[in-house]
C-alpha cells in the first residue's frame, strides 16, 4: 500500500507538470474534481463507442490522480459497473480467472470488497478505443523511470502524432537521458516535421531519418518524391526531394537485404521442423527398415502429452513445456516399444508388412485419442518466453518460438548423434543394423536392441510432437499431415543416414521458402516434390547413399 501512495505522489508531480505545460488549463479543487470525474466515468456505462472516446478525453483532461489507474483498467478490460447500483469499479484481475472479482474504488483506488462476475457488467472497449487509451496512457508512461516503458510510450504516441503528442515529445527530448529513447523521439519528431512548411526543417528531418529502416518512414519519404495529380511534385523543394529520394533508396536497399535474411531464417525454421519430424523415422525406418506409418501418430501423442502436462500443472505455463519434453519422449518411446514388442518384431525382414500393420496401428491410435480427448483441438499455451519476436532492427525480427524450435532441433540432433556414436547402446544399435547375425553371435541381445532402437525413434517422434504443439493444431489428425513429408525427407537424405536427413530437411525447407514468395505456397510445395522425384532418379539412394555390401539389398 505504501508503494501505492508513492505512485500517487509521482502522478501528482506529473499532473502539476502537465498543468504547467498547458497555460489554458485551470486547476480544479480536489472534491469537485472527484465529482466531475465520477460523473464522466458514469457516462461510460451506456455510451456508444464514439461517445466513450470523448469521455476518455474528458477524463484525461481532468487530470484526476486516478485517471491513469482507471484508463489502464479500461484498456485491460477490468472496468466494471455493479448491476444493482450502477456504480463503477475497477477489478483487480480479469473475469476469466475467477468467478468473483475483487473490486477497487475508482477514486481512492482502495479495496471495495468483491462481487460475483454475474452481478457486474464490463464496460466494453473496441480496437479503436484501445488505441485511444494506449496513446493517452502513453503520455503518462513518458515520465516513467523505466526506460523501456518510456520507449513503448513514444512508439505508442508515434501512432498518432497530434499537436499534443509532438508538444510532449519536444519537452521530453530535452530532458531524456536514455539514448535509445532519445533516438526514437528524434525520429518521431523528424517524421512530424517532414510535414513542416520550412524547407530547412524538412531537409534536416530527412537527414535524421536516412538511417532509419522503418516501413512507415520509407512510405513517407517515397510519398515526398511522387507527383501529385496536378503534375507538380508533392515536395516542392528540389534539394529536399533529392535528399528524400536518396534516403528512400538506401532504406529500400537495406530493407531488401534484411528481408533476404528473414526468408533464409523462415527456410531454416521450416527445415528444422522437417528434420525434427524425420530423424525419428530415420532411425525406425532407416536403421531398422521398418516403414512406420504410425510415426505421425507418435508425434501426435507427443503433442497430446504436452497438453496433458500443461493441464496437470496449472499456473506453471512457463515451465510445463520443459517438463513436457522428457515426458513426451518417455510416453512416445514406451508406446513405440509396445508396438515393437507386440507387432513389429514378428515382421522383421518384411518392410511392407510393417507398413500395413503400422497403418492399422495409426488408425487405432488416432481413434484412441479421439475417444479420450474428443476430435476437438486442444489448446497448448505458448509460454511467454517463447512468444513474441526478437526485434533485431526495424526491418528484421525473428519470432522466438521458431528460433527455439531451430535450436531444439539442433539439440535433439546432436544428442542423437552422441547416443549413437558414443554410448554402448548406440554401438549395439549400429552393430545389429549392420549385421544382425554377427551381433547376435557376439552376445548382443538383438531383441532388446530392436526394442530400444524403436523406442528411441518413437521417443524422438514424441519430441517432434512437443515442437509441433507450439506451431499447429493439436488434434487426432496431427500425424497425418506430417507423415508424408517425414518419409520424403528420410528418403531424400538417404535411408539410414542422420546427416542426410539433416541436410535433406534443411534444404527442402529453404528451397520451399525461397520459392514461396514467387510461386505461392502450393506451387512451391509441388515444385519441391517434383525436384525430389527427379533427384531420386539421379541418386537412387538419396543424398548420402548407404554404402557397403549390406546396402546391396536396400
Amino acid at each position: 500500500m505504501k508503494k501505492h501512495f508513492l505512485w500517487l505522489g509521482v502522478q501528482w508531480l506529473f499532473f502539476l507538470l502537465l498543468c504547467a505545460s498547458r497555460s489554458a488549463f485551470p486547476l480544479y479543487a480536489q472534491s469537485s474534481s472527484d465529482a466531475n470525474f465520477l460523473v464522466s466515468l458514469g457516462q461510460l456505462r451506456d455510451a456508444s463507442f464514439d461517445d466513450k472516446e470523448k469521455i476518455i478525453d474528458q477524463l484525461a483532461q481532468s487530470g484526476h490522480p486516478s485517471v491513469r489507474a482507471v484508463l489502464t483498467a479500461f484498456v485491460e478490460d477490468r472496468l466494471y459497473y455493479r448491476n444493482q447500483d450502477q456504480k463503477i469499479f475497477i477489478a483487480r484481475q480479469g473475469a476469466e480467472d475467477a468467478p468473483t472479482l475483487n473490486l477497487l474504488d475508482p477514486i481512492t483506488l482502495k479495496g471495495a470488497g468483491s462481487a460475483s462476475s454475474d452481478n457486474l457488467s464490463r464496460i466494453l472497449a473496441n480496437n479503436h478505443l484501445r488505441r485511444v487509451l494506449q496513446t493517452t496512457l502513453a503520455r503518462y508512461g513518458l515520465s516513467s523511470p523505466d526506460a523501456s516503458i518510456r520507449l513503448e510510450s513514444v512508439q505508442d504516441m508515434e501512432k498518432d502524432l497530434d499537436e499534443e503528442n509532438v508538444q510532449l515529445l519536444r519537452q521530453r527530448i530535452s530532458v531524456e537521458t536514455d539514448p535509445a529513447v532519445k533516438k526514437e523521439i528524434a525520429s518521431a519528431l523528424a517524421l512530424d516535421s517532414l510535414g513542416s512548411s520550412d524547407a530547412q526543417a524538412r531537409l534536416a528531418a530527412v537527414s535524421t531519418l536516412r538511417g532509419s529502416l522503418r516501413q512507415d518512414v520509407l512510405n513517407k519519404l517515397e510519398a515526398m518524391t511522387e507527383k501529385s495529380p496536378d503534375g507538380s511534385f508533392v515536395e516542392v523543394n528540389e534539394q529536399v526531394r533529392q535528399a528524400a529520394a536518396a534516403a528512400a533508396k538506401s532504406i529500400t536497399r537495406r530493407r531488401a537485404f534484411y528481408s533476404g535474411i528473414e526468408t533464409l531464417f523462415f527456410g531454416l525454421s521450416l527445415g528444422s521442423v522437417l528434420v525434427l519430424i524425420a530423424i525419428g523415422l530415420a532411425i525406425t525406418f532407416g536403421v531398422m527398415g521398418v516403414i512406420n506409418m504410425a510415426h505421425g501418430e507418435l508425434m501426435m501423442i507427443g503433442a497430446y502429452t504436452t497438453y496433458v502436462v500443461q493441464v496437470a500443472m496449472p499456473g506453471h505455463g512457463e515451465t510445463s513445456i520443459l517438463v513436457a519434453i522428457p515426458a513426451a519422449f518417455l510416453v512416445a518411446a514406451l508406446i513405440g516399444i509396445l508396438i515393437e514388442r507386440t507387432i513389429i518384431r514378428f515382421l522383421y525382414g518384411r518392410p511392407l508388412e510393417t507398413l500395413l500393420a503400422t497403418f492399422g496401428v495409426s488408425l487405432i491410435l488416432q481413434q484412441l485419442v479421439r475417444s479420450i480427448f474428443t476430435a476437438l483441438n486442444r489448446s497448448v499455451e505458448t509460454p511467454a518466453w517463447m512468444s513474441g519476436t526478437l526485434q533485431l532492427n526495424d526491418a528484421l525480427s525473428i519470432t522466438y518460438n521458431r528460433l527455439y524450435i531451430v535450436i531444439f532441433t539442433l539439440l535433439v540432433f546432436a544428442a542423437l548423434l552422441v547416443v549413437l556414436k558414443y554410448t554402448r547402446m548406440g554401438l549395439e544399435i549400429r552393430a545389429v543394423s549392420q549385421n544382425r547375425a554377427m551381433a547376435k553371435a557376439m552376445g548382443i541381445r538383438s531383441e532388446w536392441v530392436d526394442a530400444m532402437t524403436f523406442g528411441l525413434g518413437s521417443g524422438i517422434a514424441g519430441l517432434a510432437g512437443v515442437a509441433l504443439s507450439q506451431l499447429t493444431n493439436v488434434n487426432p489428425n496431427l500425424g497425418q499431415s506430417y507423415i508424408i513429408d517425414s518419409f520424403l525427407v528420410v528418403v531424400f537424405g538417404g535411408v539410414g543416414n542422420l546427416w542426410g536427413s539433416m541436410t535433406g530437411g534443411m534444404s527442402m525447407g529453404i528451397v520451399n521458402e525461397l520459392l514461396e514468395p514467387y510461386a505461392g505456397a502450393v506451387l512451391a510445395k509441388i515444385f519441391v516434390l517434383i525436384a525430389l522425384i527427379l533427384f531420386i532418379q539421379v541418386r537412387p539412394r538419396g543424398l548420402f547413399p548407404p554404402t557397403g555390401r549390406a546396402s546391396e539389398n536396400q
Partner: protein, 429 residues
C-alpha cells in the same frame, strides 16, 4: 470341392451380407439421419453438430416425440470422405428411410450429396455458412449466405473502423473463392482502388504461415488503415493465429476479420495475443439472452462438460431442427413433399432474441453480429445489424448472378433467370 468353394467365400459372404443389411426391419419411430464426419479432418468441427442434433432429439422425445412417435437418430460416419458422403446419404435415404437428414459441413460434401437428395427426394438441413450460388428444392440452408456474414462484416470494417486497404486471405476452395469474389466486387463498387486489395489463397491445412503473415504485415504498413478478411478454413487457422500472435500483429494495427473462426476453433488456441481480432457470425455464445443461457445450460449437461463452448453452426442446427419439427407439426406428416410445402414461411425463435424464418429461396433470416476476440476465447459483440437479414442464394454483386433468383413457392425453381425466363441448374429437367 470344399476348399475351392471357400476360395470365393469372401465374395459370397460380401453379397450375402448385403441382403442381411437390406433386410433390416422397419419399426414405429421417426428416423432422423445425422450425416456428420466423426473421423478424418472434418471431425473437429462436425462431431459437435452430431451431438447437438442428438441433444435436440433427446429433448423432443422428452416432450413426447413428434406426431405421437418417438424420434430415432441414425448416425453414420462419412469420415471426411466426399464420395463416402454420397454413399452414406443414399444409405440413409434408401436403406434407413429417414424422414430428414441433418448434416454436411464443407461445400464439397454438400455438393456430393446433392444429387442423391434430389434423386431420392430427401430433405437436408445444412447448418454452416457457405458461399451461396445454390438453392436446392431438397435443402434448407440454415447457415449464413454471403450477404448474411461477409458483406455486413466488410461494411463494418469500412464504416466503423475506417479500413482503406484490404487483404483477402483464404484457403483455396470454393467458399473463400466465392466470398472473396463477391467482396472484391463489393469493394470496387464502393470505390476501393484495385491496388488496395490483395487476395491470396493457401492450401488446406496450411501450417507454415511465417512468410504470409510477414507479407501481410508489409502490405499493412503502407500508411493507410489496413484489415485482413480471413476465409481461412478450419485446420489452417490455429497456426495462422499463432503466427499473428508471435509476429505481434495487434488488432489495433491490423484487425483480422474471420468468417470461419468461432468459439470452438478458438478453444484450440491460446487467445491472449489475439484480443481484439474480429469475427462475423449470426450467433455468439456470449450473447446474453434467456434462450441462449438455457441452450448453453442444456448443452453443458448433455455433453457433461461445463467448459464446452457453443458456436454459430450449433445455433444453425438448433434452428434447423426446430424449423423441421414445426413444419412437421404443421403438415401433420413427415412426408418430404408435404413438409417442403409448408416450410417456407415457417418461423422459429433463434437463440439471440429474433425470429428465424424460412424464405422461399430455402434460406432463412438471420441477424449479423461482429465480435471482438476476448482474452478468454469468447467474443465481445461490438456491432450488430438493426434487424435480421434475409439470406440471398445469389449475390447481387456478381454480374453472373444479377438476373438469377431462387423461389420454391411461386417459381418452383432454385436458379431462375429473370432475363431469359428460364430455370436451369440443380433440378434441371
Amino acid at each position: 470341392m470344399r476348399y475351392k468353394g471357400m476360395r470365393t467365400a469372401g465374395l459370397m459372404l460380401a453379397i450375402v451380407m448385403f441382403f442381411s443389411v437390406m433386410a433390416k426391419a422397419q419399426d414405429e419411430t421417426i428416423k432422423i439421419g445425422i450425416l456428420h464426419s466423426l473421423s478424418g479432418t472434418m471431425a473437429i468441427s462436425e462431431t459437435t453438430l452430431k451431438d447437438t442434433i442428438l441433444m435436440m432429439i433427446a429433448e423432443q422425445n422428452k416432450k413426447g416425440g413428434l406426431l405421437g412417435k418417438k424420434l430415432e437418430a441414425v448416425v453414420v460416419d462419412p469420415a471426411s470422405n466426399w464420395p463416402l458422403f454420397a454413399e452414406k446419404a443414399q444409405e440413409l435415404l434408401e436403406k434407413d428411410k429417414v424422414a430428414v437428414v441433418f448434416g454436411c459441413w464443407t461445400s464439397v460434401s454438400r455438393k456430393s450429396v446433392l444429387p442423391v437428395f434430389e434423386k431420392d427426394d430427401g430433405l437436408l438441413f445444412y447448418p454452416v455458412q457457405y458461399e451461396g450460388e445454390e438453392s436446392s428444392k431438397n435443402v434448407i440452408y440454415t447457415g449464413a449466405a454471403p450477404n448474411q456474414q461477409a458483406i455486413p462484416a466488410v461494411e463494418y470494417l469500412m464504416n466503423e473502423v475506417g479500413v482503406k486497404r484490404w487483404v483477402l486471405e483464404g484457403t483455396d476452395y470454393v467458399y473463400p473463392r466465392t466470398t472473396n469474389k463477391i467482396l472484391e466486387a463489393f469493394l470496387l463498387a464502393k470505390g476501393v482502388k484495385p491496388e488496395d486489395i490483395s487476395i491470396n489463397y493457401t492450401p488446406f491445412g496450411y501450417s507454415d504461415w511465417q512468410a504470409r503473415v510477414a507479407a501481410i504485415k508489409k502490405f499493412g504498413s503502407a500508411g493507410k488503415k489496413n484489415a485482413v478478411v480471413s476465409t481461412i478454413n478450419g485446420d489452417a487457422n490455429v497456426p495462422f493465429y499463432k503466427e499473428l500472435g508471435n509476429q505481434k500483429i495487434s488488432a489495433e494495427d491490423i484487425p483480422v476479420m474471420a468468417f470461419s473462426v468461432g468459439e470452438e476453433e478458438l478453444s484450440g488456441v491460446d487467445t491472449k495475443p489475439l484480443v481484439g481480432h474480429l469475427a462475423a457470425w449470426n450467433y455468439f455464445e456470449s450473447i446474453n439472452t434467456p434462450a441462449n443461457k438455457a441452450f448453453i445450460q442444456q448443452w453443458h449437461t448433455f455433453i457433461k462438460n461445463p467448459k464446452r463452448t457453443t458456436n454459430d453452426p450449433m445455433e444453425a442446427s438448433y434452428i434447423g431442427f426446430n424449423l423441421w419439427v414445426k413444419a412437421v407439426q404443421k403438415a401433420g406428416t413427415t412426408d418430404v413433399e408435404k413438409v417442403l410445402a409448408v416450410l417456407p414461411g415457417t418461423e422459429t425463435p433463434n437463440l439471440t432474441g429474433s425470429m428465424a424464418k424460412v424464405l422461399p429461396n430455402h434460406h432463412i433470416t438471420k441477424p449479423v453480429y461482429i465480435g471482438e476476440i476476448r482474452a478468454d476465447g469468447q467474443f465481445d459483440v461490438v456491432w450488430k445489424t438493426p434487424g435480421t437479414v434475409p439470406g440471398e442464394a445469389w449475390s447481387r454483386y456478381l454480374p453472373s448472378d444479377k438476373d438469377i433468383t431462387a423461389d420454391w413457392v411461386t417459381l418452383k425453381c432454385g436458379n431462375y433467370n429473370k432475363a431469359t425466363k428460364t430455370c436451369s441448374g440443380q433440378n434441371y429437367k
